[in-house]
C-alpha cells in the first residue's frame, strides 16, 4: 500500500505541508480564501529544532492501536487506510493517548482528525507530498519496515 514517508535529511522546515494539508481539507478553491486569518488544523505537523525538521502524519500502521482503542468505534480501516468517522467520534482523545507518533489531533470543531491520505478531499493525492518543495515527503509503496 502506498503510504506517506518523510525523510528528515530533506525536510527544510518550511511547513508548507501543514498549509497544503489544511487547504486541501478546506474544500475551497483558493488557499488565500481558505486560510487567511484562520488558525489552521493540519493533519500533518512539522517537528524539530533549528537543525533537524521532519513532518509527522499518520503512519497508517498495519496494526493500528488507535483503531483498537477507539471507544466509539469511530476509527476504521479502509483497505489499509486508517480513517475516522467524524460523526461517531465523541472527542474522548483516547487515540491521542495511544498513538505512538502523535499523529492525531483535534480539528477545528474539536472532533479528532487525522491524515487520510487526501483520498476523499479535493486534492485526490496527498497534498503534503505534492506541495513539498524538496521531496522530503513522498507517497509510495515500501515493502517491509526498514
Amino acid at each position: 500500500m502506498k503510504r506517506i514517508y518523510v525523510n528528515e535529511d530533506r525536510c527544510i522546515g518550511c511547513r508548507l505541508c501543514e498549509y497544503n494539508c489544511a487547504f486541501a481539507n478546506s474544500g475551497m478553491r483558493d488557499m488565500a480564501l481558505a486560510l487567511k486569518g484562520k488558525t489552521i488544523y493540519p493533519r500533518i505537523h512539522v517537528e524539530g529544532d533549528d537543525k533537524i525538521t521532519f513532518a509527522v502524519s499518520c503512519r497508517h500502521c498495519t496494526d493500528p492501536i488507535c483503531m483498537k482503542s477507539c471507544i466509539a468505534g469511530a476509527i476504521y480501516d479502509d483497505n489499509g487506510v486508517i480513517r475516522i468517522d467524524k460523526n461517531k467520534c465523541v472527542g474522548c482523545l483516547t487515540c491521542i493517548l495511544v498513538c505512538p507518533y502523535g499523529a492525531l489531533a483535534k480539528g477545528e470543531n474539536g472532533v479528532m482528525q487525522k491524515c487520510e491520505l487526501c483520498l476523499n478531499n479535493s486534492c485526490g493525492e496527498p497534498a503534503c507530498v505534492k506541495g513539498c518543495p524538496n521531496r522530503a515527503i513522498v507517497y509510495e509503496e515500501r515493502g517491509e519496515s526498514l
Binding site: V56, C92, I96, L97, C99, L146
Partner: protein, 410 residues
C-alpha cells in the same frame, strides 16, 4: 470446520470475531449476548446522556457486522454453564451450544455493597449498560436531585453526563479524592475543583451508612436528600463460567499471553479477565476498552489457529470532564518528575531507567508518545528524555529510530 463460540457481545467479543476472521474465513461463529443490543460502545453511555452521541452512532461496528462476519447471535441469553469436557455451553433457556473453541468475554457487573435500607430507595440505578443510561434518561429531569455513590471513572462520567439534565448532583466516595484509582491527590484536587466549578458537589472520605427512602445517612453524620440514586462503587468480573468449570480464576479469569485459560480450548478476553500489567509487573483486571479489544483480537486469532500474543497491557485512561482532560497511563511507581505550567500538569514516574507511568492534566497533544515509552519499554537513556519532559516530540528519539518509524511500514 471450526465452530467458534463467543460468550458475550461487547468489544472483546467483537474483537474476537475480527481476530477469528483475520485467520479463518470459513468456521462458524456463534455469539451469546446477554444484552438485547448489537455490540455498542459501552463507554459512550455518558456521552449519550450529554447528547454528544445518539443510539444510532453508538454501534461499535456497522450494522452488517455480524452478517458480514457470518456470526449467529443469540440476543438476551445468558450462558449458564461451560462444559470443557464435552465442549459445550448451556444457555439459560436450556439451549446447548457445542464449540471447538470458545471465548469467554462476559465482562463485568456492577458491584453494589449491601447498604442498609437500600431496598427502600425507589429510583436506584447502576451505570454500566445502555439500558442503565436509557432508564436514567427517563428518570432524571431538571429538578431531579441525583446522588452518585462512587467518584471513580463511572461515577464521574455519569455525573458529567447528567449535569446537562439537572442542576443537583452529589457524588460521594469513601476515598479522600476523586478518581482515586488513576489520579494522585494533586491531580485529583485539580479535577475535583474543576468539577465543582461546574456544579458537582462532592462528599469525600465518606460513605453511606444507611438509606431511608430518598435520604442517605452518611458516616460523617451528614445526610443527602436525593431523587435518584446511582451506585458506581465498583465492578466485579464475570468469572463464574470458568470458575464453575474448574478453570483458574483469581479476581478475574487467568489467561496466558495467548489469552488461553487453564481449560482446553477455552479463551477469555476483556473485563472478565486479568492482564499482566507490564508497568507494574503485576496481574490485575485492566477494565479498559483498548485492553478488551487487544485481548479479544488476540484470542480470536489464536482460536482460529493463528499466533498472536498480547503481552504489553498497561492501564491507560483518557478521560475528560467539562473540557478538562486527564490522561494517565502505567503505574505510579518510582521517581516522580513533575513538569507544570499555568495550563498543564505533567507527572512522570521513572524506575529502572524506564518510564513507568504518567499523569497529565491539560490540553493533550501527542501524549501517545509517552504511552509508547511505557508499552514498548524504551530505555530512557536511548532518547532525549529532557526534551520529552517539555513536550511530546519525536525529536527526542534517535535519527535512526525516526528513519525506521517515518521511513518504513509500521
Amino acid at each position: 470446520m471450526n465452530e467458534y463460540l463467543i460468550i458475550g457481545n461487547g468489544v472483546a467479543a467483537a474483537a474476537a470475531t475480527e481476530g477469528i476472521r483475520s485467520v479463518d474465513k470459513a468456521g462458524t461463529i456463534t455469539i451469546v449476548s446477554e444484552e438485547a443490543h448489537p455490540v455498542y460502545c459501552r463507554p459512550l453511555i455518558s456521552y449519550y446522556l450529554e447528547k454528544k452521541t445518539d443510539i444510532s452512532k453508538m454501534n461499535y461496528r456497522d450494522k452488517d457486522f455480524y452478517e458480514r462476519n457470518g456470526c449467529k447471535v443469540f440476543y438476551g441469553k445468558k450462558a449458564v454453564r461451560l462444559d470443557p469436557e464435552k465442549k459445550e455451553v448451556k444457555l439459560c433457556d436450556g439451549t446447548v451450544l457445542p464449540y471447538s473453541k470458545v471465548c469467554i468475554a462476559t465482562g463485568s457487573s456492577p458491584f453494589t455493597p449491601d447498604f442498609p435500607g437500600i431496598d427502600t430507595v425507589d429510583k436506584k440505578f447502576g451505570f454500566m449498560t445502555l439500558d442503565d443510561a436509557l432508564s436514567l434518561e427517563k428518570a432524571v429531569g431538571k429538578d431531579t436531585r441525583v446522588f452518585i455513590i462512587g467518584a471513580g471513572l463511572i461515577g464521574l462520567k455519569c455525573a458529567e453526563g447528567l449535569r446537562a439534565m439537572t442542576d443537583s448532583i452529589t457524588v460521594c466516595d469513601l476515598a479522600d479524592r476523586v478518581l482515586s484509582s488513576i489520579l494522585d491527590s494533586d491531580c485529583a484536587a485539580l479535577m475535583q475543583a474543576h468539577m465543582e466549578k461546574n456544579g458537582i458537589r462532592f462528599l469525600l472520605s465518606d460513605t453511606v451508612e444507611r438509606f431511608d427512602k430518598n435520604k442517605a445517612y452518611m458516616k460523617s453524620g451528614r445526610t443527602v436528600d436525593f431523587d435518584v440514586l446511582v451506585t458506581a462503587v465498583g465492578v466485579k468480573a464475570n468469572t463464574s463460567l470458568v470458575k464453575d468449570a474448574g478453570g483458574a480464576v483469581n479476581r478475574g479469569i487467568i489467561t496466558d499471553e495467548h489469552m488461553r485459560t487453564s481449560l482446553n480450548d477455552v479463551y477469555a478476553a476483556g473485563d472478565c479477565c486479568e492482564s499482566r500489567d507490564i508497568s507494574s509487573g503485576t496481574s490485575h483486571i485492566l477494565a479498559i476498552l483498548p485492553n478488551a479489544y487487544m485481548q479479544g483480537f488476540a484470542a480470536g486469532v489464536n482460536m482460529a489457529g493463528g499466533d498472536r500474543i498480547f503481552d504489553n497491557a498497561i492501564p491507560m485512561n483518557s478521560i475528560g470532564f467539562f473540557s478538562l482532560h486527564a490522561m494517565t497511563a502505567g503505574s505510579y511507581d518510582g521517581e516522580l518528575i513533575e513538569e507544570k505550567n499555568d495550563r498543564e500538569l505533567m507527572k512522570f514516574f521513572v524506575k529502572d531507567g524506564l518510564l513507568k507511568g504518567f499523569i497529565f492534566i491539560g490540553e493533550p497533544s501527542k501524549t501517545g508518545i509517552y504511552t509508547s515509552l511505557i508499552r514498548e519499554r524504551i530505555p530512557l537513556d536511548t532518547i532525549d528524555f529532557e526534551l520529552l519532559k517539555k513536550g511530546a516530540d519525536y525529536m527526542a528519539f534517535s535519527p535512526e529510530t525516526r528513519r525506521k518509524k517515518f521511513g518504513g511500514v509500521v
